[in-house]
């Protein structure tokens, strides 16, 4: 028993040194940590503006659009995360064509998400939610002035996330092209894992955005 504990301990202390594969992964993780801070700052600013508006007034977009669309967008990103891990699983088992299929599905998920976001923005802008104004329907002057910062914070956060999705789609397309040209094998596939890290992060951030902006 004692012997086993010593072994475990030794394993913790002497971690394997960084290899080119794990360096790339570490690099992506460090980028994601920085990105978390960007999103954290934006969400904290949103919380600040909203708490500042207090009881005066706040117009959440679900009151304009309903919750179904964004719930479906969340579902879509979760699905695309699953196809992403399936792509990685496939190439680790050496199945290139299956990986390409799943990467294609992941890209499709991202593109549909972006389309829905464009549709949502369009509908919100038509409804009067812009960077400087909010829909006046049924609100007092005080409520309007209280929540006038809703537009800029909403568009900044969902726009920043949308840009991440756009970047992710481009990144995935590049990896897919490499995959189609036969770059990845069961032994060499850490680039697929790294694009996966980025994509899951975008999904994770949307989970937070969905909760804080749409549901709360």
């Amino acid at each position: 028993m004692e012997h086993a504990t010593t072994l475990d301990h030794t394993e913790d202390v002497y971690e394997p040194s960084l290899t080119p594969d794990s360096l790339g992964k570490l690099g992506m993780w460090i980028f994601l940590v920085g990105d978390t801070m960007s999103f954290g700052a934006l969400l904290a600013a949103y919380a600040a503006v909203r708490a500042g508006a207090g009881v005066i007034g706040w117009v959440p977009p679900v009151e304009i659009l309903g919750i179904n669309l964004t719930a479906f967008m969340t579902f879509l990103l979760i699905c695309s995360s699953v196809t992403m891990v399936k792509a990685l699983e496939s190439i680790q088992n050496g199945n290139v064509s299956r990986m390409c299929t799943f990467l294609g599905l992941t890209i499709a998920g991202g593109v549909i998400f972006l389309g829905l976001q464009a549709y949502e923005w369009n509908a919100l802008i038509k409804h009067g939610l812009t960077l400087t104004e909010i829909p006046h329907h049924g609100l007092s002057g005080a409520a309007i002035s209280g929540s006038v910062l809703f537009g800029p914070t909403f568009y900044a956060i969902t726009g920043f996330h949308g840009l991440h999705v756009t970047g992710g789609v481009i990144y995935l397309i590049v990896i897919l092209i490499h995959g189609l040209r036969g770059r990845y094998t069961a032994e060499f596939n850490h680039e697929v894992e790294i694009v996966g890290l980025y994509w899951h992060f975008v999904d994770l951030i949307w989970i937070m955005v969905f909760t804080f902006i749409y549901l709360l």
């Binding site: 971690e15 508006a53 699953v82 007092s140 002035s145 709360l216």
Partner: protein
Amino acid sequence: MAENGHKEHPKYMNIFWWLLALTIIEVAVAIPEYATVLKAILLIGLACSKAILVANYFMHLKFERKTLAVIVVTPFLICVLLVFALMPDLTSDDRLDGIERPAEVVDTSAH
């Protein structure tokens, strides 16, 4: 460690069903009207569970070395601190008065 990290795959579909179920619960929790604080606690708890599932299984954080988990958790803690550091300034009554008054001035001048 190397064998361990090299890759028995977690059951991804199980994670998917969990995420789906948690999303449905979230929407069900969000729709009815009741105490905001309770709703906020429930929703943030559910969102964090989902985030942890995604990070642990999809991003394989659970199967990485522990040092990485420490690096990754740090910015989340800092973000939470950031929100709480801002709160006292934002929720004081003075500030609300400050917002309400000019709004009423604008309102009357419009007539």
